[in-house]
């Protein structure tokens, strides 16, 4: 009993101390936080700052949506400083307007002058300006006035601080009034133009990003990748064949496109080439279709498929080359004819130019992928088919070459990036070391042992996506603005990069959520991986993919409204200019436009998503 009591007291004491310590810690935490974030109570209370802030808020509250067309009418009157010997009355009249200066001259800038007018437009605002003698362009506003119901007004002013002169000085009285009904202001028109640019930036980035994110999401999803295991020989076969595939793809495509490059501007050759190429392609596709319907055994089928593919590529790219040449020429030709739709002509040309520029790269990636699949297939089948000693030998050789290729590739990349001037220390020598290590590893390992290559690829892809995603588009756009220049294109590229990473992750989580049953069933029919994905995975992920794409478009519109702050074009670009020029009424229009567009898209995309899911 006594012990328990003491124990209770002790723990109470301990708990109190801990509570106090935690309290102190929190206190220190927030004290430091307040300090580093420079929380300040004096500045906001400063009357000068308050006045500025109020001015800004009032300007923001009066967005410059509408403008009236204005008409002005002016008349002149002269004044002298200092007063000459013979003072004459200074009064003028123009049509039925009269103005009188009282007094009609001044000696110093302290003397006040009253200007009376009559016969002006009733209830109209006006301004009084002073023009210096001579042909000087500058003017100075002296006063403003508003006429009464009879068109009379009285305004007093003093002369500006200038040197006295004998010449008469001109005073201009200007009335200004609105005519007609209100129309869109200049800033409204600019806002509409830029908002459209912004929405299309988001559209382009989302489209391109989605197309790339879809294949990425498959290799970034755990359930598809985790079971993929391959013998070492298959992995190495893939590593060896990947760069070969890429180089072959790029080189082949360039060579094929070069056939057509010589006749770039020759219309008849392009037309003939296009027609002949298309005809041959149609025949080839027919023939290929017949070939593909034969059921061949695995290895031969892959060989036949590859040959067919190669033949089709051989015909496809020259045809595409002729087509693109023609397309560019047509685009150039129709651009001046189309008038307000000339952007269609430019787009037409640009599209085909893009085909020519991007084809080698895309083909390279595609063939790299095919090469990798083929290499690993050959490696796997060879190892599984051979007896153990031969398989071990093959694995060892493949490991040696694969390790060399891998290290050589990484070394070359580092050498290029950091410009070490001794390539052999970064490529050949480490490559050779890796080859020896690979050889030893290949001999030691059991050739049929499965290595979890799938989960390695999965975790690498996921980490890369996470890194790319954690950098904001506002930072990417700075890099791209350097590369492609300030403007919407840089914004599109920045948004695209971020979209790929973000959607890649979201999509792959959807792939991870699909029901496994159909996959199991389709695997059980003897389908290969590609078939399992096409028949078992894709039908299940279409709705969530569409939903996430819409969601991302929504996000991209939001991003693209501010990406202009960093040089990415769109509405943000003009908004930040207006803010810097202190044109808050104009800035207010743009802010409201952004809010409206984001709200609308939010609503529309949530409605569509609700319908799809």
């Amino acid at each position: 009993m006594f012990d328990q009591n003491q124990d209770g007291e002790g723990s109470f004491l301990r708990r109190s101390i801990i509570t106090i310590l935690i309290g102190l810690f929190v206190l220190v935490l927030y004290a430091y936080g307040t300090d580093v974030t420079q929380v300040n109570l004096e500045e906001p209370q400063d009357p000068n700052r308050q006045e500025v802030a109020v001015r800004v808020i009032r300007a923001l509250a009066r967005p410059d949506f509408l403008d009236y067309r204005e008409e002005t009418r002016s008349m002149d009157i002269t004044i002298r400083m200092p007063c000459p010997e013979d003072v004459k009355g200074s009064q003028t009249s123009l049509e039925d307007r009269q103005t009188v200066l009282i007094p009609n001259c001044v000696n110093t800038t302290q003397d006040s002058v009253v200007l009376q007018g009559s016969g002006f437009r009733p209830r109209t605002d006006g301004i009084i300006r002073w023009y210096p003698p001579g042909d000087v362009e500058t003017t100075r506003a002296l006063s403003t006035f508003r006429t009464d119901a009879n068109g009379n007004f009285e305004a007093d002013f003093t002369m500006p601080d200038i040197r006295p002169t004998d010449e008469p000085q001109r005073i201009e009285v200007e009335e200004k009034w609105r005519v007609g009904i209100a129309g869109l202001s200049e800033s409204s028109i600019l806002t509409i133009e830029k908002i459209i640019e912004t929405i299309f930036m988001a559209l382009m980035a989302t489209t391109v990003g989605t197309l790339i994110a879809i294949p990425v999401s498959f290799i970034a999803s755990r359930n598809l990748m985790i079971q993929v295991g391959s013998p070492l020989a298959a992995i190495m076969g893939g590593i060896i064949a990947l760069p070969i595939g890429y180089l072959v793809g790029v080189q082949l495509t360039r060579t094929l496109l070069n056939i057509t490059a010589v006749s770039q501007t020759n219309v008849p050759i392009n037309i003939v080439g296009l027609i002949v190429g298309t005809a041959l392609l149609v025949v080839a596709v027919r023939y290929a279709g017949a070939m593909l319907s034969n059921d061949l055994s695995g290895g031969r089928q892959i060989l036949v498929n590859s040959l067919i593919l190669l033949a089709l590529i051989g015909l496809f790219f020259p045809t595409i080359g002729y087509l693109s040449n023609l397309g560019i020429l047509i685009g150039e030709a129709i651009e001046p004819i189309l008038g307000p739709f000339d952007f269609l002509g430019r787009f037409f040309g640009l599209l085909f130019e893009a085909v020519l520029v991007l084809s080698p790269g895309i083909m390279g990636l595609l063939l790299a992928f095919f090469g990798m699949s083929f290499g690993s297939f050959v490696g796997q089948e060879a190892v599984l088919g051979l007896d153990e000693r031969l398989a071990r030998g093959l694995t060892a050789v493949l490991c040696a070459i694969g390790a060399f290729v891998f290290v050589f590739g990484i070394g070359s990349a580092l050498n290029w990036l950091y410009q070490y001037d001794e390539p052999q220390f970064w490529t050949t020598i480490p490559g050779a070391v890796a080859a020896v290590l690979g050889l030893i590893g290949g001999v030691l390992t059991h050739p049929k042992r499965q290595y979890p290559i799938g989960s390695i690829i999965y975790s690498t892809t996921r980490s890369l996506l996470n890194i790319i995603r954690s950098i904001e588009p506002l930072i990417y756009v700075i890099v791209f603005a350097v590369w492609v220049g300030i403007g919407p294109f840089a914004g599109i590229l920045a948004l695209t990069i971020h979209t790929i990473a973000a959607l890649g992750k979201l999509y792959s989580e959807q792939v991870e959520n699909i029901s496994e049953g159909p996959l199991e069933a389709i695997t059980a029919t003897g389908a290969n991986r590609l078939q399992t994905i096409v028949f078992g995975v894709i039908p299940q992920i279409v709705p969530p993919y569409i939903a996430f794409t819409l969601y991302r478009w929504d996000i991209n519109v939001r991003f693209s409204t501010i990406i202009g702050f960093a040089g990415g074009g769109g509405i943000g670009f003009v908004l930040v200019q207006n803010i810097n020029l202190l044109q808050y009424r104009q800035a207010s229009v743009m802010m409201i436009a952004i809010a409206l567009v984001v709200m609308t898209l939010d609503y529309v995309s949530s409605r569509i998503r609700a319908r799809i899911i």
């Binding site: 279709g289 069933a521 029919t525 078992g536 709705p543």
Partner: protein
Amino acid sequence: MLRVENLTKVYDDGTVALKNVSFTVPDGQFLAVVGLSGSGKSTLLRCINRLIEPTSGEIWWNDAKLSHVTGEELRRARRKIGMIFQHFNLVQRSSVLTNVLSGRLGYVNPIRSVFNRFPESDMKQAFKNLNRVGIGDKANNRADELSGGQQQRVGIARALMQEPELILADEPVASLDPVLAHSIMQYLQQINQEDNITVMCSLHFLDLVQEYGDRVIALNQGELVFEGMPSEIDDKRFKDIYGQDAVRIG
């Protein structure tokens, strides 16, 4: 003939799902597999077509060592083994026809199939099999528009597309009501008898076992505890299979 020798499966978490299971199934037999939930029935069936990798032991289908084939060979072995699942495992958003045609994936050229181009003969076969299970008119419906019984018939048609020599049925009627259960079992029986396809079917209800099974094996905690004719399961054997507390109903 299917021959299973000393089959053992230990999962990564240490669960022993199958312990030294050995049995043979002659060609054309309808073999029922019974046992409590978790007794290893599903694991046994999935080891045969290698949806689950056995830990040790051998599985032979005629001359093919199913337990050890890999890569291309495994694909070729799988396409001769149809499988029917408790939850049907159809692709819900695809059409019935596509689901049935996916049974041909092991045969057709991968490139063609990826573009959903199946040979004319496969299309004909698909309709024939759909008519055979009585849902020829549903070919263009989406799979999720069908009732449970109809979905299982699609599953049977899909398995038939493989021109299988062996059908593995993993509790094919456990998600269906008793009337539908009999209708599905009758299709399986018909396939077994008319096409001479060996069927290995795990079941919960003993009345179904007795009505449709030629022979029965029973698993209890991964061990083979009974092998014989359905009529041989008396009250004592029943308690061996299902545990001493079990009460026989129906």
